[in-house]
């Protein structure tokens, strides 16, 4: 089942001589439960692609549909609610709410939806993330790895159709990076979660189903190669 469909996506910044084509006619699709990684050099257009898919940024042309819904034709309020319910974000710098505890941070998207979180779901996620003991801690009382695990929990709580992770291990050491990758893989398998992750750590692509490479705004599908190594 196709969850994400990106068609002829272009994004241009500036005009005239200052014009930069960050994305050039990018098209690809992701199936339900697929865990894909986008790799590329710094400035190649990876983050722009992720921002356009997550409707954080507006593409110059082309379309992004999530389960048939075109995000960029929606009104702002509608798009926000759609994003809240269907897209989970994981940022490099965690972006946890410093005033909220680990548990509150995890259930934050549900609170924004003015719904009551299911205690069983929360417990399950906390257990999976190994944060049960730390559920009442504030972000500044956690290590970087624990903070990123809490951010993964926040992305998972609404059972979104798609999780977008922007360099989720960028601020972590190798041990914590591996833990985070294991968690994402586990989530992908356990919840049949579709995940699109940006990374420039080639070692991390070992555990993903599919690798996409962006070079100067052009996307190349390197296909499913769990053991591919880039020099």
């Amino acid at each position: 089942m196709e969850i994400l469909k990106v068609q002829n996506l272009c994004k241009t910044y500036g005009k005239g001589e200052a014009r930069v084509d960050a994305l050039k006619d990018v098209s690809f699709a992701l199936e339900k439960g697929e865990f894909a990684a986008v790799v590329g050099e710094s400035g190649s257009g990876k983050s722009t692609l992720l921002n356009c898919i997550g409707a954080l940024d507006v593409p110059s042309s082309g379309s992004v549909t999530i389960e048939g819904h075109n995000l960029h034709t929606m009104k702002e309020e509608e798009r926000t609610i759609f994003r809240r319910r269907n897209i989970g974000f994981i940022f490099q710098s965690f972006q946890l709410v410093s005033e909220l505890t680990v548990e509150q941070n995890i259930i934050f998207p549900i609170l924004l939806d003015y719904r009551k979180p299911n205690a069983q779901d929360v417990k399950e996620i906390l257990d999976m993330l190994g944060l049960t003991e730390r559920r009442n801690h504030l972000p500044n009382q956690l290590s970087g790895g624990q903070q990123q695990r809490a951010a993964i929990g926040r992305a998972l709580i609404t059972r979104p159709k798609l999780i977008l992770a922007d360099e989720p291990t960028g601020n972590l050491d190798s041990k914590n990076s591996q833990d985070v990758m294991d968690l994402l893989t586990q989530a992908s398998r356990h919840y049949q979660q579709t995940i699109l992750m940006i990374t420039h750590n080639n070692n991390l692509t070992a555990s993903v189903d599919r690798v996409l490479r962006v070079t100067d705004g052009v996307l190349t599908d390197l296909g499913g190669n769990a053991n591919e190594r880039f020099s």
């Binding site: 921002n51 997550g54 409707a55 954080l56 940024d57 507006v58 702002e76 309020e77 926000t80 609610i81 994003r83 809240r84 319910r85 974000f89 940022f91 490099q92 710098s93 965690f94 972006q95 709410v97 410093s98 005033e99 909220l100 505890t101 509150q104 934050f108 998207p109 609170l111 924004l112 939806d113 003015y114 009442n136 504030l138 972000p139 500044n140 970087g144 926040r154 601020n171």
Partner: protein
């Protein structure tokens, strides 16, 4: 780049937006101080001009000293002028007349007319004992000119002959009392003083008016004079108003006023410091990563502190001149309005005057405040860890110690409240700056009560000219009203009939009342003073009257009062009560107001006791003379224009100062709130971006910002309200209670106004940032600097 401090201008360019807010805060503070000090300076200058013109440019008066002592005093280098002054028949009770009109006889030295009062309008000061200056009103009424002979009659029938050497401006008292002024030299005056021949100065009840050369240490000079001439406290009197305005008064009342001024000055200073501290604090908090980076590359904490201080001073270069210039422009506008309102008094005030004290105060307060305010953020910046620059936690605005309780409110609302309270210091600064605006407003609003008590505002019925029955009977002929109303120089003319000390019986008690009539205009003006009942009934229905409120009065609405007028007795029903009327009588005598028809029915009188005239705008002295001629010589013609204009001038000046000041505080409150909220939102921009990415809708974002702003506003209003009321009470007791014994009441209207201003400011304040966030893409919000 020669040194690390050269980073400041480059950094300012990059952080233009944040710098702009801090610069704006400094401008506001400097503007506030410059405008307030400038306005106060202008007010004092205006008042000094008015006091000198009204009461004379003298500082102390000394009585019971010899002429020799006066001469020694005049020779002192710290004394500019000394003039002897004596008066006869000032209150019209010693029987001196000129052409059958009361005449006040003054005796003084030339300095009095030229230096102290500047009242010589024509001719020269009397050089011989038989020469006299005559007041301008005598010149007009008697058609006199320089060189004419006048004869002053004394009570004993003696005739004193004088040659007119010139004319002097009429004083307000002469015009009000409808008496004429004859001014002699001291020698001339002493020669005619009854029962004293060649006596001492004290025998002529002479007062020596002294103008000091140096107005800086007047109290010291007074003490010195006292010691040198062995004078007692009773022998020396101060020109309290002028000395008060010069900041040199020793009177208890002025001490209270100075005390109040110091409290207000400290409040203004605190407002400035808080505003700038809050801005710098927020600015530094946003750039903690930058300072961490500086520490990373080797800057010592001391260097970071110097950098922050230099940055603050860098803003001052632009902000202080702008603040001073805008403050001065506001003062100029005020001067312009003042000249326009009262050209007689403030015509001499230059519009484009530069108030040096206000500029110095603006610059000093700006610089001092910035340096003081920069201390704490500079320390904070210097403490920023190098790790902060390289870890993702650098953007955490403040370390959070307690988690939010998301069960009480919706998460967006709660986060807003939590944002406001998360940093204790920031919260205190924000609430402090909100509170201070309210405290300032409530404190300064006391000056309105002070003004209303200190300066009797002119009532709508206040007359410029009055034609009064000399024996206070109904003898001013009725037809005069019609004749006067036909005169184009007359704007309004209205008469009142009086029956004084009428014995009445009410509810079985015998009392005394004065019965007065109103006509249409006066009934109309009385509407604003109505306490209860119906004015219309008293106006249209005969046999009814109004009672004027008096604490001792027991007559109530609905009572029937039996008046005993001669042999006739008639009943009158009380149908309404008013708080005030145009005349005062003894406290134990009641005042009843009825229509002219009712009065005629009761007394049979149809002529007036007094006819009041309000003259038309632009009416000239000739017009007034024509009115005087119309009235004829049988009545007392009272001219109150000068004293009205004095009152009006002071009232306008003070009113403009007080209300201008309150408007200024209200505007500062609005700017401060807008700036504070904008800074607070700007500081959290990145976080808002992340929230939006996670799924926070614009509506929820609005709620979050509103909740944050409301937290500041509500807490600020509560704290400001409580402390403001406390300050209000202290100042009220100092300025009003001390003098007039009024009890303090909660100033509900003022409190409501300032809280409404805060609410409006908050509404205005959240519009801008919300629109900005809405217009920004989420990516831009996340990466906002």
């Amino acid at each position: 780049m020669k040194g690390f401090l050269d980073l400041v201008p480059s950094s300012a360019k990059v952080h233009k937006k944040q710098s702009r807010m801090s610069v704006f805060c400094i401008i506001l503070s400097v503007f506030l101080v410059t405008a307030i000090f400038g306005m106060a300076d202008m007010f004092i200058k205006g008042q000094i001009l008015q006091a000198q013109s009204e009461n004379g440019n003298w500082h102390i008066g000394i009585r019971d000293i010899t002429d020799e002592d006066a001469a020694v005093l005049a020779a002192r280098p710290d004394i500019k002028t000394v003039s002897a002054y004596g008066v006869l028949n000032f209150r019209g009770d010693q029987g001196y007349t000129l052409s059958n009109k009361d005449a006040a006889i003054f005796g003084c030295d030339e300095a009095m007319v030229k230096d102290i009062f500047e009242m010589l309008s024509e001719g020269a000061f009397p050089q011989a004992e038989e020469e006299a200056l005559v007041s301008d009103n005598a010149k007009e009424t008697l058609g006199l000119k320089t060189g004419d002979q006048i004869t002053v009659k004394t009570a004993s029938g003696e005739e004193l002959q004088f040659t007119i050497s010139g004319f002097a401006t009429s004083t307000a008292n002469l015009l009000r009392e409808d008496s004429l002024g004859v001014l002699l030299s001291t020698e001339g005056f002493r020669a005619i003083c009854p029962e004293v021949k060649n006596g001492n100065a004290s025998d002529y009840n002479t007062m020596f008016y002294v103008q000091l050369a140096n107005t800086r240490h007047i109290q010291n000079t007074i003490q010195d004079i006292k010691a040198s001439f062995s004078l007692t406290d009773d022998q020396i009197s101060e020109n309290t108003k002028l000395l008060g305005l010069l900041g040199q008064s020793s009177s208890a009342f002025m001490m209270q006023v100075y005390g109040a001024a110091i409290v207000l000055f400290v409040l203004v200073l605190c407002a400035g410091i808080l505003m700038i501290t809050s801005s710098l604090n927020s600015n530094v908090a946003q750039r903690i990563e930058f300072f961490g980076l500086l520490r990373c590359v080797g800057a010592t904490p001391k260097q970071v502190m110097r950098l922050v201080r230099k940055e603050a001073l860098h803003w001052c270069r632009l902000a202080i001149p702008i603040g001073v210039v805008t403050g001065t422009i506001v003062v100029w506008l005020m001067c312009f309005v003042l000249r326009w309102l009262s050209p007689i008094y403030f015509g001499g005030m230059p519009i484009f005057s530069i108030s040096i004290p206000s500029i110095i105060a603006g610059i000093c307060v700006g610089l001092l405040t910035v340096l003081l305010a920069a201390r704490s953020p500079a320390k904070k910046a210097s403490k920023s860890s190098p790790l902060a620059a390289v870890s993702g936690n650098a953007n955490d605005l403040q370390p959070v110690r307690r988690a939010a309780n998301t069960k009480l409110f919706k998460v967006d609302t709660f986060l807003g409240i939590h944002h406001a309270k998360s940093s204790k210091k920031n919260f205190v600064l924000m609430v402090g700056s909100f509170s201070l605006s309210i405290i300032l407003f409530l404190s300064f609003s006391v000056t309105i009560d002070f003004m209303k008590h200190a300066l009797t505002p002119l009532h709508p019925w206040t007359a410029d000219l009055s034609i009064i029955s000399p024996d206070q009977t109904c003898s001013v002929r009725n037809g005069l009203i019609e004749e006067l109303s036909g005169n184009p120089a007359v704007d309004k003319v209205y008469g009142r009939m009086f029956a004084y000390n009428v014995p009445v019986v009410v509810n079985g008690e015998t009392k005394t009342v004065d019965l007065i009539t109103y006509e249409e205009k006066q009934f109309d003006w009385a509407k604003n003073y109505k306490l209860s009942g119906s004015l219309e009934t008293a106006q249209n229905q005969t046999g009814t009257a109004l009672i004027v409120f008096e604490a001792e009065n027991t007559i109530q609405i609905g009572d029937t009062v039996t008046l005993n007028l001669g042999e006739k007795s008639s009943n009158i029903e009380i149908v309404g009560m008013v708080s005030d009327c145009p005349f005062n009588n003894r406290a134990d005598v009641g005042k009843l107001i009825c229509s002219e028809e009712t009065f005629q029915q009761m007394t049979g009188e149809s002529d007036y006791t007094i006819i009041d005239i309000q003259i038309a705008e632009g009416a000239t002295e000739n017009d007034v003379s024509a009115i005087r001629k119309m009235a004829g010589g049988t009545y007392t013609f009272s001219d109150d224009r000068m004293s009205n204009s004095n009152t009006r001038g002071t009232y306008y000046c003070f009113g403009l100062f007080v209300y201008g000041f309150l408007v200024l505080i209200a505007l500062i409150t609005i700017f401060n709130v807008i700036n504070s909220i904008a800074m607070s939102v700007a500081a959290r921009m990145k976080q808002y971006g992340a929230f939006r990415a996670i799924g926070l809708s614009n509506r929820q974002l609005v709620r979050m910002v509103v909740a944050e702003a409301s937290t500041y506003a509500v807490t600020g209003s509560i704290c400001g309200g409580i402390l403001g009321l406390l300050c209000n009470k202290i100042l009220f007791d100092k300025l009003v209670g001390f003098n007039w014994g009024d009890p303090w009441n909660i100033p509900v209207a003022e409190l409501a106004v300032i809280i409404a201003v805060v609410v409006i400011a908050v509404i205005l304040a959240i519009r801008g940032p919300i629109k900005k966030i809405r217009d920004m893409s989420i990516v831009d919000t996340i990466s906002a600097q």
